[in-house]
């Protein structure tokens, strides 16, 4: 499979790169918890806290800003707090960036790569593309952009989803979207086919560009197969000051959730300020891809030594 991936990118003239696993900065995204470790020695005689990357996104964007052109990387990434049927705290990501491609063009490339990888193992029906709104309308019968917390709560009740009691009393729709997405919609996505979900609410833009409009939409997409999320992609945000604002908002969210603060990646912000070429990027969970290719139900079946045996 790895050979197939490397051949796929070699044919398209995409360069394989390596970036550091350890960094003095970390992602401030409150949904991603970085492992920390400590380095002591030349350069930092008093010791320095280092973070294991949760994805190679930041240094890869620095390469793009430095003029690398299209690049890809296959590497281990690390996320604290995540273990379960489709999660392991260390896992393999395939991440790639294509200069000059928008989200729709990159989705087409993701589709051809995944089809090629699964070709001998799984029979796939024609792929489908659903906007975030269409998916919610189809499976939850509501418009995720205009629905209120009460609308979401009602839809959850109608489908016998027992939300955490604390959620019933506050009105943050973002968490309600996540609840219905994970409990109701995701399990129904990509049944025997590749389903792309795209045009996310702007509040879930993460590192994607936001297209102005009513409502404004994030140029972000995710790929599902048999209810499993396989990839997440963005038409990459290139505006350094917008990126800094989002980082600061995330740092603020971390402090209200009593999560540890982290140093921002000033190198990334400087690279964006110097100019990131127009590009789209996507990260694909390699272990999940092998799980689906093998017809397995959990990552534990395809990872030699998952967390409980590591």
């Amino acid at each position: 499979m790895l050979t197939g991936i490397r051949a796929f990118f070699s044919e398209r003239g995409v360069l394989e790169v390596e970036t550091p696993y350890l960094s003095a900065a970390a992602t401030p995204d409150p949904a991603l918890l970085s492992f920390t470790t400590r380095y002591t020695g030349p350069l930092f005689p008093q010791g320095q806290t280092l973070y294991l990357h949760t994805s190679p996104e930041f240094p890869m964007k620095r390469l793009l800003a430095a003029g690398s052109g299209s690049i890809y990387q296959i590497c281990k990434v690390f996320r604290d707090g995540e273990a379960g049927r489709t999660h392991n705290p260390e896992f393999t990501l395939l991440e790639w960036y294509r200069t000059g491609l928008d989200a729709a063009q990159l989705m087409a490339e993701v589709e051809s790569l995944v089809r090629q990888m699964l070709d001998e193992h799984v029979t796939l029906a024609a792929s489908e593309k659903l906007t975030y709104r269409e998916a919610f309308q189809r499976h939850a019968n509501l418009d995720p952009h205009t629905a209120t917390a009460e609308d979401f709560a009602q839809a959850a009740r109608a489908h016998e989803i027992h939300a955490p009691p604390a959620m019933l009393t506050h009105h943050d729709v973002a968490i309600w979207r996540d609840l219905l997405l994970t409990h109701l919609i995701e399990p129904r996505l990509g049944q025997g086919r590749l389903t792309f979900l795209y045009d996310y609410p702007a509040s879930q833009a993460s590192l994607a560009r936001v297209r102005p409009g009513t409502p404004p939409l994030a140029e972000r997409f995710e790929l599902y197969l048999n209810g499993t999320e396989l990839a997440n992609g963005f038409h990459e945000l290139a505006d350094a000051s917008e990126q800094r604002t989002r980082f600061e908002r995330q740092l603020h969210a971390r402090s209200t959730e009593h999560l540890p603060s982290v140093p921002l990646d000033e190198n990334l912000l400087a690279a964006l300020a110097s100019g990131l070429p127009d590009c789209s990027g996507v990260a694909l969970g390699f272990d999940r891809l092998t799980m689906l290719a093998a017809g397995a139900k959990s990552l534990g079946e395809v990872i030699a030594f998952p967390l409980d045996r590591a």
Binding site: A31, E82, H87, E160, H162, T182, E186, Q204, N232
Partner: protein
């Protein structure tokens, strides 16, 4: 009171849910790529036996339920309560009909059962895997019959009815599987 977080949840963990004691059956971690992590948890209500599904935000907590399984000897049934004794402490417990349920038909004095206690009160009773009981009523046996063939119903001293081979006679002791309710052998 002790509490458990979703990170502690695993099959068998005893927690309080809807003011009743429950046992975790399954705990699935779900998380969108960039968003809130949840735990979808299946919990068996130990009073009703029903399985309910609940969702928690990862990191949420539930109160621990003081539930323990203890091996105890069955003493006697006084018509209202089934009395059991802890053979180590000699402490005695009375289990009502709800707690004993269907198990009653297998209970013979001095057999060792597993009693599930919640706050010191019997919640359920699990009979021994196999029991040896006397047949009190069955049709007369047929000479020359082997264990093959249809069989016939036999009522046991504790009230249970099991199918036995035709050669088994009234008054004999037989070994039964309490999980399947089936005859195993002569004892």
């Amino acid at each position: 009171m002790a509490t458990y977080s979703t990170n502690d949840f695993k099959a068998g963990l005893k927690v309080m849910i809807d003011n009743s004691p429950g046992a975790v059956v399954e705990n699935e971690f779900v998380k969108p790529g960039k968003g809130q992590a949840f735990n979808r948890v299946k919990i068996r209500n130990l009073k009703t036996g029903r399985i309910i599904e609940r969702t928690f935000k990862s990191g949420d907590t539930l109160e621990a339920a003081d539930v323990v399984d203890v091996e105890m000897q069955f003493l006697y049934n006084d018509g209202e309560f089934f009395h059991f004794m802890n053979p180590v402490t000699y402490e005695q417990f009375g289990a009502d009909k709800t707690a004993v349920g269907d198990t009653a038909k297998w209970l013979k004095e001095q057999d060792v059962c597993i009693i599930t206690l919640w706050n010191g009160i019997p919640l359920s009773v699990e009979p021994p895997h196999t029991v040896i009981l006397k047949i009190v009523e069955t049709d007369p046996g047929l000479k020359g019959d082997t264990s093959g063939g249809g069989g016939k119903p036999a009522t046991l001293e504790t009230g249970a009815v099991v199918r036995v081979p035709l050669f088994i006679q009234n008054g004999e002791l037989i070994k039964c599987n309490t999980r399947t309710g089936e005859y195993i052998s002569r004892a």
